[in-house]
């Protein structure tokens, strides 16, 4: 049994969290590299901090928060190697 095939049988939200992590990755790549990042190279400051520096750290921080939220979902929803064994044993117990 593999993760993918299990996932296809699992509730919709499970695959969602994996999809979201991919979206997060792509958004992160786009926001942190040209040409999109070039839009945010501006010559003004926020709280005395040059905007581009502020922007980069803000995106970075947002990505970390997003990853933290998603990783919790993925941890809870996904099937892991060690858990699979336990689940398999449970199945045996139930059938017996």
């Amino acid at each position: 049994m593999n993760d993918e095939s299990r996932n296809s049988n699992r509730p919709f939200s499970d695959r969602k969290s994996n999809d979201r992590s991919l979206v997060l990755l792509i958004v992160g790549c786009l926001l942190l590299t040209p040409p999109l990042a070039g839009i945010f190279q501006l010559d003004f400051r926020i709280l005395g901090i040059p905007f581009t520096g502020f922007y980069l750290f803000a995106v970075w921080g947002a990505l970390i928060v997003g990853a933290a939220l998603l990783s919790r979902q993925q941890l809870n929803n996904s099937v892991w190697v060690n858990q699979e064994d336990a689940a398999a044993e449970e199945d045996v117990d139930n059938s017996a």
Partner: protein, 895 residues
Amino acid sequence: MLSVDLLLGVCLGYVALLFALAFYVDRRARQGHAGWIQSPIIFTLSISVYCTSWTFYGAVGSAARNGLEFITIYLGPTLVFIGWWWLLRKLVRIGKEHRITSIADLISSRYGKSSSIAVLVTLMALLATTPYIALQLQSVTRSYQAIVGEVDVSLSAFIIAAGMALFAILFGTRNVDANERHHGVVAAIAVEAVVKLAALLAVGLFVVFGVAGGVGAVFENVDTEVIYGAGNIFDARWVTLTFLSATAIICLPRQFQVTVVENVDERHLATASWLFPLYLFGMCLFVMPIAIAGLKFLPAGANPDLYVLTLPLSLGREDLALFAFLGGFSSATSMVIVAAIAVSTMVSNHIVVPISLYLLHGRREVSGDVRKILLRSRRVSIAAVVGLGFLYFQASGGSDALAAIGLIAFVGVAQFLPSLLGGIFWRGATRNGALSGLLVGFVLWAYTLFLPSFGGSAILGADVLANGLFGIAALRPQALFGLAGLDPLVHAVIWSLGANTLAFMIVSSLSEASPLDRLQGALFVDVFSNRPDESTRFEPGQANAEDLFVLAQRILGTEPARQLFDSMAQEQGSAGVLPWPTDAMIVQLERVLAGNVGAASAHAMVSRVAGRGSISMIELIDIADETRRLMETSRELSNKSAELTMMTNELRMANQRLRQLDLQKDEFLSQVSHELRTPMTAIRSFSEILLSPETVTDEERNRFITIINEESQRLTRLLNEILDMSRLEAGILDMPLCPVEAGAVIDTAIDTLDGLIRKKQVRIERQLNADPVWVQANEDRLHQILINLISNSIKYNISEDPVILVRSKSKRDVLYIDISDNGGGVKREEAATIFDKFSRGHRSNIDHGAGLGLSISRAIVRSMGGNLTLEFADDETSFFRLRLPRGLAPEGKGV
């Protein structure tokens, strides 16, 4: 000013603490109390070995020179970890299932356990790591210098190198299983990770809030150009650096070691996916403020790479400087230790061990041999790797060129990326493709980036850099084929990685994958759909459990090998004996061994012992030969079987003939006894009558005696005939031949039969040759035959006026004697059997002859070289024809 003694004391104390911690954790883990050391936080902290002194000191230096660009080095890893689900998770799973020991092991394992790829990757990793280690040594000595003033650079660098090598050897090679976690090392690195982060944060907080007086104040009166760098910040270099750092977090040997090899639980990746970026975030947060403060408060000539240290020093915070020094020391030592362990594992598994095994081949009886070799080679490799770093540091003289080595190493290890990604996502990737890609990338990296980094002082001279190799402008290392106007780093990445990827894909798509290559490809690409125990190999060969046990003993040691084999035997349900060498058992053993010596070596050794190597050309030829021999044999067999069928048929026919003969013999015997009984019965009954004389008259007695006499004669005749017959058949009848005058014999025969002729009133007509004809015969026998034939004609003649014609006619060297009569002849249907023994014609009811006469006559004639046949005339009357070979007339009796 900090005193040398204090600095040394703190340093030694810190090192002693690390040793003690590593020792304690190692022992606890060995006793089964790994506990907190296996937490996701420790895992994340160990990954922070990414932040070397190049980060600790160098990031500030880079920020002071190029502004925010330094951040790209940490954005790449952040993106990789955010996308952990798609790449890192797969790498870790593959690493676990195939007991991968290093990145060289992973790539070679994927491409059919190719040892050439393993060696190539190992050499590239060694080449990229050595200057990096030198860089760490340099940063530690420079920071030391910065605090205490002038020191013996070489000596301090050597002491540091030796200390790190010792640590790596002590805690990195405690166990022969490189796949086993080095808990002591991980714990020490985690502590160092905390120290370096805390140190950098402390310096940063001091600078921002203690010196500048707030976040906004730091950036006051600072040109935007200082912060953004010259020109457009988001240019090609930005993208390249982000990409390179993302690649490095996967491909750097030490990162692969901590992320994949040392990983105990895949779930730790989920925590690391945000915690590690957060760590990097923390490391970067105060880099820019420190850089700006350094530019503001330190003299113009100060080295930006040491701002972290010199800023607190110049501002009178020696305690903070000491902390910063420890942070820098931590980042340097952790990198050297992990890199030494990772690279030495590769060097040992893929270069030293195969060579040692080759040299020691044939000394298999020494158990535990290889285990010692493994440990020793790994220790020597660690010392060698760190030693090389030290030598490089000495040779480069601590030049500023070293500062650039971080990125150069990144580009070097980035050459692994196409083969690595292609290997785990693309089944079609082949060994040849990977080998070509790696080679092309390696050469171009060395030519466009690594060698030029010496600034024309090594291998590539200054004129080559300026004018190209052999003066060919198209071969200028930093403007290859006219691709000028680019940042040298971007230029090198485009050429080396671009050509690498292209070569990898083109050769892969053109070359055929070996069976093992294809199998490993499927196992790697579909790692999530394969259960670990489902991988089977379809290879020919016979494994011997004892040989495998000896092999395992040599590599794992006697006791672990015994335990492994016991558990495998138990799994097979046969505890107490050696496990049956099934495919699954061999695969399992190979995996365990792979954890010690790498997949390629393990496969080679198990193959050699178990005879399970992939099929070589010679084996294929052998198999083909065997098939051909089998075909020949089967053809011979079918020939033989046809022969046998023929022989069986012949035998059957012979048997049939024998049965016929047997039947004839039985028939003959019954005939003979019958023939003998008839006269015997007559004799006996008449003699019985004679024994009672009172009832018999004299007349009757005379008649009876006559009958007895006749019957006795007949009996004698019959017995003579039978005797003749058997003699004739045995070919022992004594019958001398000599020239005989045929006419005379015929006359004599007729004369002999005169009595019978008279009695039957038969007329004999003779039509004999006018001249005497001589034949080669036995006179008596010929006489007997003629009498037989003529008497037959007389006896069986049923005509009213019996006439017998005896005619002789000579033809060249043959004489014919025909005997015919008017008595009815022989019917055509009787002709075939008339000469058989005891055969009688239809007229034989008249007189009961034995039926042997004709048979005997013919046998005699034939033994005289003639023949006796029954012929039919035109009018269907039959006659006997006697053919006799003519002979020469004897002297004096000639014609």
